[in-house]
Amino acid sequence: MKRTNVRYWTAFIILTVMLAVLLFWNINSGSVELSVAQIYQIIVKHTGEKTAYNIVWEIRLPRILAAVILGGALSVSGFLLQTFFGNPIAGPFVLGISSGAKLVVSLTMIFLLGKGIAVHSGTMIAGAFVGAMISMGFILLVSRKVKKMSMLVICGVMIGYICSAVTDFVVTFADDSNIVNLRNWSLGSFSGMSWENIGVMSAVIFTALLLVFFMSKPIGAYQMGEVYARNMGVNIRMFRLALILLSSILSASVTAFAGPISFVGIAVPHLVKSLLKTAKPILVIPACFLGGAVFCLFCDLIARTVFAPTELSISSVTAVFGAPVVIYMMVRKQSRSL
């Protein structure tokens, strides 16, 4: 018992240290160089040179916070979906849930912007949630017929393609100056976050995460399969509903603000579980949040600095680091089941 506790502590300390380092690194990197003293002044004392102050407070900090919160939400959402489908390669992106959210958000935005109405963060989340639930509903229907997980993932990917195609189509033919932003967003990016966005996403995501954390007991039971979970006293119907709603809210919020971000939802929970050497939800859920934050901060750092001033889409970077993890998992799973 002692040894495992040491492992858990170590894992959490590693993640926290990585998060701290990346936070600092992210604040410090960009087109304008800032010294440690300057950053300290700007953040803690709220003073400093005007341009630098604005860069930190209006551009870098919201972006960093968005990466932390959304990255964390995305990996927790992935963990929930993996538990729900009992398969490690389930995730909001591969199951087409992010793309469904993306489609509805684009439609909403084009419609509202076309009428000259400003789009509120809450509206975006609501739109994304509707889209996520539509994809989720479809996946659930398929999962009733198809028991094989690989088929389900293929269906999810197909849904993703259909939604992306429709989104691209709509975006291409919508000629409005705001559509430029929309295009950026539809590829996935943490840029252009306002403090209002951060406020809304924190409220929604942290509420959802708190609920998820308090569900760690039944989630743990559900990892043993439905039959045993029921026997342990879990109300399966309510539990499944809660799991679907919470994972959809989390991935919808991410999509609403940052567009679809690939592979984080699969890669991070896997890496976190390997680090902890356990799948106990009470540990994995907070660790997933930290891990997702670290992963997205790291990827965002690369996205905006490697080819600066050109910015990469966040999804391309997460795919580069996340997809190999997923391939590795699938290969290992296959070789073990043979």
Binding site: A221, Q223, Y228, N231, G233, V234, A279, K280
Partner: protein
């Protein structure tokens, strides 16, 4: 109120609203083991799944203690009943100890953190199934026998009053089968729990059960203590046995013997004939056996395998007419095998038969 701990009233079970088995009336007291037997696909698992609330009932009621199953909350039910089902589970990165401790779920707090008392119960349960050394082992890496014991320990540490097991002995070798059933018997005796399970092994069902339920067709065909259920004729009918036979006293099966005119005459008795009968059966040679007393151990096997058995009433000396009959059969055979060299007052005539056979060849 009835005196039973678990009972059903006119329970109907099935899938998608279509009843598979109707009017099920099962009654069981605490400290008893009830076993469901019946052919594959008869619906044993369906009955069990309905009794644990995994499938909704299509009619009737299940009572546990004094409560109706449908009206019990998930948590109350979890404290009364635990299960070991056939579904293979693949929990990720869980040690056997972790799996067992999931049995404490109904007793832990909001976040499911185990108290010292819970850990103690987990240890006790693992001791009960002789699996203490597996505590830290990865659950996905243990053998079938170990996995089944761990799942039983999980069920035990849930501190249930009734344990439901669906074919707990499938995939286990003989040692683990016996071990598992011994643990169940111990549970029943020490903790006074009720056990409901399904078994394929009739011999084990006959020996461990207090009550046997036979599922056949769309109903419970028989219900009662094993002594009433296990007759050769009924088992034959229940399972629709066409090749081979079932020995009710020993609960063992025999293959179908070779048919046709007997080619070999086997003189056995006192257990000496059995291995010869089996050899002949394996080689497909039709044979006759004699002269066996009806209370001889050789008799049931000979009866199952031989084309003809010449027998004498229990405890009687072999009568001349029986001897004549045996002689006639023996004369038609090409070969005679004498298995026994022990002759006494009762089977004196077998010695004559053996001597006679030497003249024949």
């Amino acid at each position: 109120m009835k005196d039973y701990f678990v009972y059903t009233e006119k329970m109907s079970v099935g899938y998608n609203g279509k009843p598979l088995i109707k009017d099920i009336e099962i009654e069981l007291q605490k400290g008893q083991i009830l076993t469901l037997i019946g052919p594959n696909g008869a619906g044993k698992s369906t009955i069990l799944k309905s009794m644990i609330g995994q499938l909704s009932l299509l009619g009737g009621t299940v009572y546990i203690g004094r409560d109706e199953l449908k009206k019990m909350s998930e948590k109350d039910l979890a404290k009364k009943m635990s299960v070991v089902m056939t579904e293979r589970i693949h929990p990720e990165l869980m040690t056997c100890g972790d799996v067992v401790s999931t049995g404490r779920y109904p007793y832990t707090g909001r976040l499911g953190i185990l108290s010292e008392k819970d850990r103690e119960k987990v240890r006790e349960a693992m001791e009960m199934v002789n699996a203490t050394e597996l505590m830290e082992r990865d659950f996905s890496a243990v053998s079938d026998g170990q996995r089944q014991r761990i799942l039983l320990a999980r069920a035990i540490c849930q501190e249930p009053e009734i344990i439901v097991l669906d074919e707990p002995t499938s995939f286990l070798d003989i040692r683990y089968k016996l071990e598992l059933l011994t643990i169940l018997k111990k549970m029943v005796r020490e903790k006074n729990v009720a056990v409901i399970m399904s078994l394929h092994e009739l011999d084990l069902a006959q020996k461990i059960s207090d009550v046997v339920v036979c599922v056949h067709g769309d109903k419970i065909e028989r219900f009662g203590p094993p002594e009433e259920i296990f007759s050769a004729g009924y088992i034959r009918q229940l399972y629709g046995i066409t090749d081979g036979s079932y020995n009710a006293q020993f609960g063992c099966i025999e293959m179908e013997g070779a048919k046709g005119e007997p080619e070999v005459f086997v003189i056995g008795g006192g257990g000496s004939g059995i291995s010869v009968y089996r050899q002949l059966q394996r080689k497909g040679i039709p044979f006759a056996a004699g002269i066996l007393h009806e209370n001889d151990v050789d008799y049931p096997v000979a009866k199952a395998l031989a084309v003809e058995v010449i027998s004498e009433k229990p405890y009687e000396e072999i009568r001349p007419e029986t001897y004549e009959k045996a002689l006639n059969v023996m004369r038609k055979c090409k070969k005679v095998i004498g298995c026994t060299e022990k002759f006494g007052k009762m089977n004196e005539k077998n010695r004559h038969l053996l001597e006679e056979s030497e003249h024949l060849l």
